[in-house]
Amino acid sequence: MNGRGEMTRSASRLPGAISWRTRWDVSDTCRSLFAMAFLLLLVACGGGEQGDPYELSRLSERKRGFPETEQAVASGGRTYRKHCALCHGDEGEGNGGSAPYLDPRPRDFTMGLFKFRSTLSGELPTDEDLFRVISRGVPGTAMPNWGEGAFKLSEEQRWEVAYYVKRLGGEDFEDEDFDPYREGAILPIPAPPEGGPDRVAAGREIFTDEKRGGCVKCHGPNGRGNGAEAGAQRDDWGDVILPADLTKSWRYKNGDSPRQIFRTLSTGLSGTPMPGYGEMLGEEERWNLAFFVRSLVIEPDASGNQVLVATRTTEAIPSDPSDERWFDQQALDVPMAGQVMYRPRHQNVGVDLVQVRALYDQSEIVFHFSWNDRSRDVEHRGTEGGEPPFSQDSPDLPSVAEIDDTFVPAKQLWKRRAGKFRDSLQLQFPATLKTGANKPFFFLGGKGGPVYLWRWLADREASGQERAFEERAQNGAVKTPTVQDADDQTLRGKSTYDDGRWALVMRRPLQTQGKKDIQFSAGSLVPFAVQVWDGGNGEEGLLCSLSSWYYVRLETPIPASAYLAGAAGVIIALLLVRLLVFLACRVHPEYILEQAASSAYVGEISGASEG
C-alpha cells in the first residue's frame, strides 16, 4: 500500500470528487472561450505580420471604401473644427491656439506645401499621404497619431478629414499647381534591398561628399544636426528651422525604417531646406544613403528602468569625460521635458535626452553625463549667478521676464537663440534622504523639502573662473537658491565637447563635512533628477529642460548578513519540519486519514442528500 495509490483511489471513489468534476465541467465553456481567444490572437498576429499598414498600394485599396463625396467633405469639416482647428486654425492657416508656441509650427494648409509625400519635391501630396500623416501622426511634434493608440478617429473620419484638408487651399485656382484635385506624380518606393556594412559605408561617402549628398553640411558628420549651416536656415514661412538630429529615432517625423528614410530622401520635405534627391541621386545611391542614416539611429530605452547602478571600482576612475571606458559602462537613459510648471513655460527644448553613468571607489562618487547639443555655448550675457531665476538678460534680446504669456512663443525663443547664453547642467538630490518613495517636489523642491544641487556652468569652466562646479541648495523653483559654504565646496569636474555632443564628469567625496550635503555610502539608494540648459536655444533660468526623479544605487557585493539570514532560514525550516513530523506521528489524527467514503462536500454544504 503506498500513499499515491490510496490517494488516486480515494479521489475516484469519493462522491465528493465526482461533484468536483461536475463542477469543473463548467470549464468546457471556458475551454471554448480559450479557443476563441486563441483564434483571435492568431488573427491579430497574422495582421501584424503584413508589414507597413500605410503602404501606398494598400491605402489606395482602403480608400475605395470611403469615396470623396460632398457629404464626406462636409463631415470632414465638422471633425476638423473639433479636433484639428485648435492647432491648424479655423481656416487651415496654421494659426490655432497652440500655433505661436510650437516649433515646428502646425502646418498651414493654404499654401499647398506639404512635407510628407510620395510625390516629387514641390508637388501636391496624394490623399493617401494625407491619410497616412493623420493616422500615424508626426513623431517628435505636437501632431497626434489619430489612427493609433488608446483614442482614435474612425477610418471614415480620417479619410473625410484628408478630403477636407486638401480643399483648404481654396477652390478656385488660376495657378493649376494649386488645384487641390490634382495629385502630384508618384515617386515609386520599391521594396528595400538587403542592407549591410557595404551599403552603410557607401552611404557614408554620399552623406559626406558635398558634390553628391552633402548631408553633412546641415546634419553634421555623425548626424547630430550640428552641420556648419545649422541655425542659419529658414523655412518657406520665414521661421527658423534646425536640421534634424538623425541619431534620435523618436524625432524622425516621416518614419525611421530604411524604406521610410528612402522615401524622405527621395521626395524631400517641401517648405523646408531638405531637398528631394529623387532626381539627383540614383536609386542604389539613395538606398545606400538610407541604410547609412538608419545606422546612426539609437533607440530609446523602453524598459522603463529607473535605477542607475554605480559600479564599484578599484582602478582609477577616468577623469576625462571623453574616455572610452565611460562609454563601456551601462547608461541610464534620462528623457528630458520642457519646464512647463512655472512661467516662462516652454516646450521646445534643446536637449531631450541625457545619458547618465556612474562609478565609485572607496573615497569618491563620479557621475558621467552625455547629451547632444548643436552648439558649444561658453559665453554668457545673462545674469551671472542665474538668480533670481528670471531677470535682466541682454538688453537687445527679449527678456524672459518680459514675456507676458503662459508659454514662451517660439518666435521669442528664436530671437534669444541669437544671443549669448551658456550651456549648463544641474544634478539634483533631495537635501535629506527619506524612507520609501517620499521625495521633495521633482523640480527644485519646495513641497516635501529642499533639494541639494550640483551645478556646472560651461562659461566659467571655459574661461577658467572659479566655481564652474558648485554645490547649492534650493527650496522651490521660484525661491532664491543658496550656495554651500566655501569650505564645503568639494565638487570637482571636467567637460568636453566634440562633434555636437557634450560629455561631462562630476565628482565628489562619498562623505563630506558639509552639514547641508547628503552622504553616499556603499549600498545607498539615492533619488536624483537632472536639469539642462541649452544656451544655443536661448535657455536660461526657468527656461530649461528637466527630468523626473530617478535613483542611483551604489552597487555592493552581497553582504555576509544575507548569507547568514539564508543559513538561519534553512536551520529554522529544518527544526520546524522536525517538529511537525514529530507532532504528526504522535497525535494520531486517524479520522483525517480514514477514507471519507460516505461524505460528499457538495451534498453536505448545500444540504442535499447524495450519499
Partner: protein, 331 residues
C-alpha cells in the same frame, strides 16, 4: 482594439485557469487550493502587470493585461502592499471554503499529514520502515525527504537571503489618482448651463438678439467650447496631447504620465467641481496620497482666470468625448 486585446488576454487566462483547475480538482481539495493560490500569484505578478525578465540585450518582456489596456510598453507592477493583500485574501478565502465541511477539511489535510508521517500512512514509523521495503515505497519516501528536508528549507533560506540582500529596484509608492481634496461639490460650470443674463450679454456681443433662445444657447455653448479648444491647445496639449489622451510631446519624459482624459477612470468619473479644483491647484497642491512630488501639473490658478478654466473644461470633456459626472443629490 486595446479593449479587445485585453478581453482576449483575460479570456485566455481564464481558459488556462480552467484547464489547470480541472486537472488539479481531480486530485483533491488540497491540490485545488494550492492551484488557486498559484494561479492568483501568476495573475497578480505576471498576467495582469506584465513582467520583464533578464537584463541588457537578453531582455524579454512578457506582456500583461494592464499593459495592453493602458497601451504601455513597460510592465505596470502591482504595488507590493496590494499584491500581498490580494494573496492574503485568496488564502483566507480558500481556507473558508476548505473548512466549510468536515470531510472537505479532512480531504485538504490528508496529503499534508501523509507527507509528514511518511508513506506508511496510519501505521506510524515502524510501518514506514516496513513499507520502504517495496520499491514504490522507497520512491515515495525519497520524494518525501526531498520535499521536507531539502526543498522546503531551501525555499525558506532563499526567502531569508533575498530579504537581506540589497535590492536594485526603485521603491514603488502607491498613488491615489483622485485623492480627496476640499472642493465645491455643488459647483456647476456656469458656461455649461448659462444664465439668461449671460446669454443676453452673449447675444448682444455677437449681434444675435433675433436668434431664438434654444438656438442661442447652442451657439453660446459651441462658441465657448471652441474658445476652450484654443486655450486647451496652448496650455494643456503639450502634456495631455491634442487627442486628450495624455500622450503629448512632454509625456515621454514624465514618469508619472499625464492623465488620459479619454479613459473612463479620469474626468468622466469626476464631478466638474473636482476637475476645476485640480486644474487650479495642480500637482503641487495635492495631499501626500497623490504623490505631489511626481506631478508636473502646474498650479494654474496663478496663470489662468476661472472663466478660462471653465472654457478649458468644456473643451476637455468635448475632445475626450465624455461628460462630467452629475453631482448626486444629498438629503
Amino acid at each position: 482594439m486595446n479593449a479587445l486585446w485585453t478581453v482576449a488576454y483575460a479570456a485566455a487566462f481564464v481558459g488556462v485557469c480552467a484547464v489547470v483547475m480541472r486537472a488539479l480538482g481531480r486530485r483533491g481539495v488540497f491540490w485545488a487550493s494550492a492551484g488557486t493560490l498559484g494561479l492568483g500569484w501568476l495573475f497578480f505578478s505576471v498576467a495582469f502587470p506584465g513582467v520583464t525578465l533578464g537584463s541588457g540585450a537578453a531582455q524579454i518582456t512578457i506582456p500583461g493585461m494592464a499593459m495592453l489596456a493602458m497601451d504601455s510598453s513597460s510592465p505596470l507592477p502591482v504595488p507590493a502592499f496590494a499584491f500581498w493583500s490580494y494573496l492574503a485574501l485568496i488564502v483566507a478565502g480558500t481556507l473558508v471554503v476548505v473548512s466549510a465541511s468536515d470531510s472537505m477539511l479532512r480531504d485538504f489535510l490528508r496529503p499534508i499529514l501523509r507527507l509528514l508521517r511518511g508513506p506508511a500512512g496510519t501505521e506510524g514509523r515502524a510501518g514506514g520502515a516496513a513499507a520502504s521495503a517495496s520499491g514504490a515505497g522507497t520512491r515515495a519516501q525519497t520524494t518525501r525527504i526531498l520535499i521536507l528536508y531539502v526543498a522546503f528549507p531551501a525555499l525558506v533560506g532563499w526567502l531569508g537571503f533575498s530579504a537581506v540582500k540589497p535590492n536594485v529596484a526603485a521603491p514603488v509608492g502607491a498613488r491615489q489618482a483622485h485623492p480627496s481634496i476640499s472642493y465645491d461639490e455643488k459647483l456647476v460650470n456656469p458656461l455649461r448651463n448659462p444664465s439668461p443674463k449671460l446669454l443676453a450679454e452673449f447675444a448682444q456681443q455677437e449681434g444675435l438678439e433675433e436668434v431664438p433662445r434654444e438656438d442661442l444657447r447652442e451657439r453660446f455653448l459651441e462658441t465657448m467650447t471652441h474658445e476652450g479648444r484654443f486655450l486647451y491647445a496652448k496650455n494643456c496639449s503639450p502634456c495631455h496631447s491634442g487627442k486628450a489622451d495624455g500622450t503629448g510631446l512632454m509625456a515621454r519624459a514624465l514618469r508619472l504620465p499625464p492623465a488620459n482624459f479619454t479613459d473612463v477612470g479620469t474626468i468622466a468619473t469626476l464631478v466638474e467641481g473636482y476637475a476645476f479644483k485640480r486644474i487650479q491647484e495642480g500637482g503641487i497642491g495635492l495631499p501626500a496620497a497623490g504623490t505631489p512630488w511626481d506631478s508636473a501639473m502646474p498650479r494654474w490658478k496663478n496663470d489662468l482666470t476661472d472663466e478660462q478654466i471653465f472654457k478649458i473644461l468644456l473643451a476637455e470633456y468635448d475632445l475626450a468625448g465624455v461628460s462630467p459626472r452629475v453631482p448626486e443629490e444629498r438629503e
